[in-house]
Symmetry: C2
């Protein structure tokens, strides 16, 4: 709301008055109109004006609202669609992307069976082992940009693929945003966890970074995954972000890779 009128036009992204050599790299660098529109749309997404799954206004309407041409709105939406924040459907409109209703289940999971595809493997089984509210350790707090000792929700679970326990993982979530999350909520819910976060807590995960290592299974982990202790496992640490680069989840997983592999595309 409070849409700027007249809308910003060709505004330098850095104040033009700064004398040369104010200490930074300081290229003047103009911010194109469509980037400003993109930012405005992002604000509406973040503010919840349009929620996951919703139809957003048509390009014409947005062009009228922001007082720019349809082409400029189009370019803004193009970039948001490229980032998987919006989904365009010809003839129908543009929708806010969601982890539910999305044909790609587990959009962030890169583990695939060595033979066949995920569908042929049948549905994954999920086994919640724990859901506790604890104080964040130093490294968890740092990753989630919290103060050490702040409350976080820690979830421990095992995922089974093709009838075999394959992934053992711990999740940490900011206690503030995930106030009502309990073991019951998790076990009752069918569908991707990120879809639950969207519908119940208004937190949409948009992007993530993963760090992979090969490690030896500890006795405890080995028991959970039904392998001998010392078995090589893929360690996957994931940090997931909402809009505007705010980290909202830390995940530490151990993947069995005897019948599965982590797939990645490079370009």
């Amino acid at each position: 709301m409070t849409i700027e009128r007249p809308p910003a036009r060709r505004v330098p992204s850095a104040p033009a008055d700064a004398p040369a050599g104010s200490g930074g790299v300081g290229a003047p660098a103009f911010s194109p109109l469509y980037q400003q529109i993109k930012a405005l749309i992002l604000q509406s997404l973040q503010a919840g004006e349009w929620r996951p799954g919703d139809l957003i206004p048509s390009e014409q309407e947005l062009a009228a609202r922001y007082k720019v041409s349809q082409g400029t709105v189009r370019k803004a939406i193009d970039e948001l669609a490229a980032d998987n924040l919006l989904v365009r459907r010809q003839g129908k409109g543009t929708f806010v992307a969601t982890h539910a209703e999305q044909h790609v289940q587990y959009r962030f999971l890169r583990l695939h069976p060595d033979h066949g595809d995920r569908a042929s493997e049948g549905p994954a089984t999920r086994d919640i082992l724990a859901c506790r509210r604890v104080r964040a350790s130093a490294d968890v707090a740092a990753a989630l940009q919290l103060r050490a000792g702040e409350t976080v929700v820690q979830v421990t679970r095992v995922l089974g693929l093709g009838g075999v326990p394959t992934i053992l993982e711990d999740l940490w979530l900011p206690g503030q945003a995930f106030r009502g999350l309990t073991m019951d909520t998790l076990t009752a819910y069918a569908g991707p966890m990120y879809a639950l976060f969207e519908s119940e807590f208004g937190v949409r995960m948009v992007r993530a970074e993963e760090r992979l290592k090969a490690v030896a299974a500890s006795p405890a982990a080995a028991a959970r995954l039904a392998v001998p202790a010392g078995t090589p496992l893929l360690s996957v640490e994931r940090l997931a972000y909402t809009y505007n680069g705010v980290p909202m989840e830390l995940r530490r997983g151990l993947y069995r890779t005897d019948r599965h592999h982590y797939r990645n595309e490079l370009s």
Copy 2:
């Protein structure tokens, strides 16, 4: 060369004569003009009309050549730039992407030091252990789409990062395309291997797929990487493609991950 005149306009991507129900999903599906332009530019790249590092004709010139508007050429180039096949530089022109001269060394290597960045680690050391012409085993032949028993070049090498042997890998390349590749060529060349492939063999790697697993170090591998046998290692199998999805390299690497991690971005 033999540019279609008049240029194709709004051509159905599937022959229009096929009676309904020729066995496929069979949506008519039109192919936009800019896709056709994109394909023509791709042909020129593939044919070597413009080589890696070259400046290609300006948008205006291409628009004139193909008899379309500049905006249409622009959209074609946009997609090729998004695929990292072309690089735009404002005020200068559009260039063919290259693995050399590119500020990002090792564009396909996702291994990063746990602390600090790659630059602070100093240059990588490369140690070529072998370069032989051998007959392709069944799996290698299948991956490279060759007949079993056809000649391939097999390279074995160790990469050192920060003074520590960190990556042990085998490469297989089609013998046909890499006729003059020898141990001497490899040891003499400074810079990324893919840059050598470009300049000496005209093979430009454009895209790759990787499959990761956690494995235990064999005694032989352990010796090469200076770790105890049985140490968990990250197994990375890479299939790299040239233009048009032709596989041109199979790589099987073992990565130490005690001081490094494999980084991946999800979105």
